[in-house]
């Protein structure tokens, strides 16, 4: 297919089976640049850029070295399941999926938020590799419970070969349904379920502290029966370690796992980090686009 928009960004990261920490850092930078590029070329010139940038390092770790998936066979039975419950950050997931080979890179800059485009602002099931339609917040964790419970059933109650990962926004932890899922996963002892909360401390209009305080956040999950870790979600090594620990059955037999990942909204774009409330979602004109790319080393 011939596309109108051609990205000039140099590709600095390619998938390989063993990604070093340096490789993952390159990938995270690539994803951030791609998110800015995708936002600029978006049919609406917008995306939920603040939360995409906060989660970029975690997305790099997940698609780079954790998720056991096969883009050639997206329905492969034993694949890991990844649900992007904070579905408005689809642009970041699309960038990671293109990098991993689910579709061509040019799709990112030509089919996002456009009529008949495959990349919807909130992902749908038409795109192979998407595991749940999210965007209306709070649903993803219960989707994950459905995947994890039937995953165990499918494997005759032996420990399933795969994991179900659900990335939640901190804002959606104010949704009641999220806590329905938290209770359900613990009741059903879903040790094959790993939740990740992108805790960038901002809901839409203000800080989570001022709008609906989530603290004591770890204790909440812990008291519901989850194995809880707190990690720096913008530190690739620390976050990867937390995931590796969560993946070990022995870490917490019979308990679902959560990583509460401290992150910074808009990272590393200075004007976004300073004014995170105004960069939950945002439009990028040419000037802002250039500013972003400069801060991303271009």
């Amino acid at each position: 297919m011939e596309y109108k928009n051609k990205s000039n960004i140099q590709v600095i990261s390619k998938y390989k089976k063993e990604m070093s920490l340096k490789d993952l850092k390159d990938l995270a930078l690539q994803l951030r640049r791609d998110v800015i590029e995708l936002t600029y070329y978006s049919g609406t010139k917008s995306s939920h850029v603040g939360g995409e940038l906060s989660a970029a390092d975690m997305m790099a770790v997940l698609y780079g070295s954790i998720l056991n998936v096969d883009p050639e066979n997206p329905q492969w039975e034993d694949r890991d399941i990844f649900i992007n419950s904070k579905g408005h950050c689809s642009g970041l997931q699309y960038a990671a999926m293109a990098w991993r080979g689910y579709f061509e890179r040019d799709v990112l800059f030509n089919e996002f938020n456009r009529i008949d485009g495959r990349l919807q602002e909130h992902a749908n099931m038409e795109l192979p590799g998407i595991e749940a339609p999210t965007g209306s917040l709070g649903m993803g964790l219960c989707n994950g419970c459905g995947y994890a419970w039937t995953g165990r059933l499918k494997n005759k109650h032996k420990i399933p070969p795969n994991f179900v990962y659900v990335m939640l926004g901190d804002g959606e932890c104010t949704e009641g349904q999220t806590w329905e899922g938290v209770m359900l996963a613990a009741q059903q002892k879903l040790s094959n379920l790993i939740a990740i909360v992108d805790y960038n401390k901002y809901i839409i209009s203000a800080s989570t502290y001022n709008v609906m305080d989530l603290e004591p956040f770890e204790q909440k999950w812990e008291s519901f029966g989850w194995h809880t870790q707190r990690a720096d979600g913008n530190d690739i090594a620390a976050f990867k370690d937390a995931l590796e620990k969560a993946k070990k059955y022995k870490t917490a037999p019979g308990r679902p796992r959560v990583i509460i990942a401290d992150t910074i909204k808009g990272k590393p774009i200075s004007f976004m980090m300073k004014d995170a409330i105004n960069w939950h979602a945002g439009h990028l004109d040419e000037e802002l686009y250039k500013k972003c790319m400069k801060e991303l080393g271009l």
């Binding site: 749908n124 099931m125 595991e131 749940a132 339609p133 965007g135 209306s136 709070g138 649903m139 993803g140 964790l141 219960c142 989707n143 994950g144 419970c145 459905g146 995947y147 994890a148 419970w149 039937t150 995953g151 059933l153 499918k154 109650h157 009641g176 349904q177 329905e180 899922g181 209770m183 359900l184 009741q187 059903q188």
Partner: protein, 321 residues
Amino acid sequence: MSEKLMYGSSVKGMRAALGETLMELGHENEKVIVIDAETGTATNIFDFRDTFPERFITVGVAEQSAISFAFGASRNGFIPFVPLFSSFLTRRACDQIFIQLGYGYANVKLIGCYCGFTSPNTGATHQSINDLAIIRSMPNFTVIETADPLELSQALKEAAKIEGPVYIRMIRGDISKYDGTFNKEGYQFKAGKSPVLREGSDITLIACGLMVPRALEAAEELLKKGISAEVINLSSIKPIDTNTIVKSLKKTGKAVTAENHSIMGGMGSAVLEAICDKCPVPVKMVGILDRYGESAELDDLFEKYNLRAADIIKAAVDLCK
């Protein structure tokens, strides 16, 4: 159908058909699972729970969770049946049903139990008067309300074969006189096909659910008044059998729709949408007007809210004047 008691009421009719058909499906297909949100005692699904404990889950009183869970389960190749009270199923979990089952084209089967006024002693909070309006407006859904337990059983089996989301609404089962069968011998339910139960030439009565036997009763009475009424059982509300309806209306030139649901957005509305540009004829709608119900004895509710055979007769006579 087996006889048993639940909260002092007999379990027969629709409710027995649901429980027994889920058992059949459970034996036939190990991919069939049942998801409950703590209405299982009333909906009669515990035989399934006790026979297939590994394929049964209750999520607590959490309808939203049940739906999103069902989505995930369906993506793993299972066929989740989710029988809940139609009121809380369609109202509490509306967003989840719309986005995850409809938009997500999930292979999930929703059973809306105790529809319309057939939760009589619970009142407006539990009475499901707009579930058809809600689900019918969602793309990708198949929407069904059967006339009798045999047709319900057939529809449940058909739903298991349909790839995609299905909503079946059903009355509480132990309503007297409504545990027989009203379709013709040899009838087999098929989505998109509506059987003509009785032929006539002056007016068409289009009904679903418990209004089907009432429409048949009305047709009998109308004949005594010299009015020949055709009766269609519109159990497949979506997809709708426009051909059968239009063919009948071309013959009779007028219709009464009858449903145990608000007249806004329900089966009658579906008929009007289907015929307005193909065969616009005078139509009167029998159903719940734009108001809430109340907790009362069922027959008293049917009388006050105009859901009797007499109400269909009155509408038909008015149209035939």
